[in-house]
Amino acid sequence: MIYGFGLAKGMGVTLKALVGPSFTVQYPDRRVGIMGAAKAAGISTPSLLFKHPIKALRAVLGFEHIAVMPTQSSRFRGNDFTWYEDRCTGCASCAKYCPLGIIKIVTLPGGINMQEGESYAIETFDIDTGRCMFCALCVEACPYDALHMGSEFERSNYVRMDLVLTKEDLIAAPKHPSTWFRPQMEEAGYSPFAEALEDMKKAGRHETPTVDELTQTWVKDRRTDEVVED
């Protein structure tokens, strides 16, 4: 053994990294050189030089940047929720299964049949994402595929109250549901980063859930025994 050989070998590894690629993912934008700018603009480098000389100069000086979206899995659970109001019956399964109890649901009897016990009009549907740990048990619990995890993750905020997702927020937000626990979306090849899924019929396993399905199919699949209050 030659003293110093191991040290030299270690320096060789770092030297290899010096000439090798960098694995940094730059977000939200990436600085590009002149070649990268041309590639991003979809034209060849000489034509960029002649057609957009200012852009080329900026690229040479290192001021040109292109937006970068990090690659996420379609199952990615962002700190956001997607909620389809039409699919929701107000059963509050999600609120019951939330380990932290941060989903607040207030319902009034009513809805489609106006008959008590079958469907409810939803008065309040608040999710306090400031306390949420995004375990997605509520999504797992939703029998009607009304609640989905969202893919959004840029929701940092200066005001704690703004982290509470209200019913209005949820309705207004663009719908990019994560495919987490939604195999039907995966089978359909849906990617939350490509397009929004505004159509509530495509989002769930059932186009229009009925009361029969509520009592027979879904609940029985999930519970072999009686629901017990605890």
Binding site: M1, I2, M11, A17, S22, F23, T24
Partner: protein
């Protein structure tokens, strides 16, 4: 008193200002020279000195900023990252942004601190780092002062920054800082000795302590002729600079930030600045003493050669920083006293004998010397590694004995009570 015509820097500025009738000034200087009326030569002298010092200090600051950028960028690449690239072209403005941010930070003063000493420490730290530049020859004729004891001066001044570290530690009253100060003092006292002795071989070859004379004496760069001296000097100066693997004085994983723990704002900035200024200065000394200084081939100006060699030395220092872990303080002391000190003595004896054989060596004889010195270098490194190196063979990952077991049924019996 340095002669103003000794350095072309002086000459240029001095001749621009002074209306001296010295022959050396004829035809040099801007605007034909003589901006000041006659009889004011002394003022020209003073103004020249002030101008050059101001230019140099600003150049040092610029160099430090460039080095901060370069080090971070290079470290990033060594680690497979990109490094700073957001602010300005290739992130070049990042250190300026850092500096601005540092200035606007709150200046925290610990309540138990000795205010005067606490404030004086960063200034004390910067002062020796800047003084080294006074004697560095940046190129042919480009130096501030060519004093005849320049090398000794550099070593003497370079050791003074430990006083600042001790001042910082005592001033802030922090116990991590105290550890840092203890370590620095112990390390400095140990590494000063090989640092000085390693230069004696060079002195014997060049016959002068002046850096200009040493550069001029290098028909062959001295790192070829004096590999052992070069190695020891590089290692010892890295220890003096607190660079990895000798950065025990500010080991952030052990003693937080060492003597800088309680510092913030521009006081911290001054520490940072002086550290980098000292690193650049030391790389300049290495360049001048061992790498042939400003010598190079022609179309490229000598100043560029000098700076290029400096940058190469800095890159190696950063490379080492990216690759190696830190040594422990007792191992550092062992290394200084058991390895470096002896290596310098070997170098001294061998160089002395070789100079007895070839009293004033020609270039060919320098090559012979280089050959013998390299053989001695490699052999002594090998022997010292054998004697002082780690006891197990790390390359083979020594003490691993993987035993193959397929399932629980044929697992070997375990040791039962009574030790392994």
């Amino acid at each position: 008193m340095p002669d103003p015509f000794d350095s072309i820097l002086y000459q240029y500025v001095y001749c621009t200002l002074s209306s001296t009738d010295d022959v050396a000034c004829v035809g040099s200087g801007l605007f034909g020279g003589g901006l000041l009326p006659g009889g004011l030569e002394w003022l020209a002298y003073v103004l020249t000195a002030v101008t050059i010092v101001a230019v140099l200090i600003n150049a040092i600051l610029g160099g430090v900023l460039m080095m901060i950028w370069g080090e971070r960028r290079l470290l990033g690449r060594f680690q497979g990252r990109t490094g700073p690239n957001r602010w300005g072209p290739f992130g070049l403005l990042t250190p300026i942004a850092d500096a601005v941010k540092t200035m606007f930070k709150e200046d925290v003063m610990p309540t138990v601190s000795d205010r005067l000493v606490f404030t004086a420490a960063p200034i004390l730290m910067l002062f020796p780092a800047l003084l080294i530049y006074a004697v560095l020859p940046f190129g042919a004729g480009t130096w501030l002062a060519d004093i005849n004891v320049a090398l000794l001066f550099i070593i003497a001044i370079g050791g003074a920054n430990v006083l600042a570290i001790v001042a910082a530690a005592l001033g802030s009253g922090n116990r991590y800082a105290m550890f840092s100060a203890m370590r620095s003092v112990a390390m400095l006292i140990s590494y000063e000795i090989p640092l000085v002795i390693s230069l004696i071989g060079v002195l014997m070859l060049s016959g002068s302590l002046s850096l200009v004379a040493i550069v001029n004496a290098q028909t062959l760069p001295f790192f070829i002729v004096q590999p052992l001296g070069f190695f020891v000097f590089l290692v010892a100066s890295m220890a003096e600079l607190n660079r990895t693997p000798f950065d025990v004085a500010e080991a952030e994983s052990e003693i937080v930030a060492g003597y800088m723990t309680d510092y913030s704002s521009m006081k911290f900035g001054l520490f940072f600045l002086s550290e980098f200024a000292a690193t650049i200065a030391t790389s300049g000394v290495i360049t001048a003493v061992f790498l042939g200084g400003w010598h190079g081939f022609d179309p490229i100006p000598s100043q560029i050669w000098f700076i290029g060699k400096m940058v190469a030395v800095l890159a190696v220092i950063v490379w080492i920083r990216a690759s190696w872990p830190r040594l422990r303080i007792d191992q550092i002391m062992n290394f200084a006293w058991k390895a470096l000190f002896e290596l310098t003595l070997i170098n001294l004896v061998v160089s002395g004998i070789l100079l007895l054989i070839w009293p004033s060596p020609s270039t060919t004889e320098l090559w012979y010397m280089a050959g013998i010195n390299w053989v001695v270098f490699l052999a002594s490194i090998y022997i010292f590694g054998k004697v002082l190196g780690p006891k197990h063979d790390p390359v083979k990952a020594g003490n691993i004995q993987p035993d193959v077991t397929l399932s629980d049924s044929d697992a070997p019996a375990l040791p039962t009570g009574g030790g392994d």
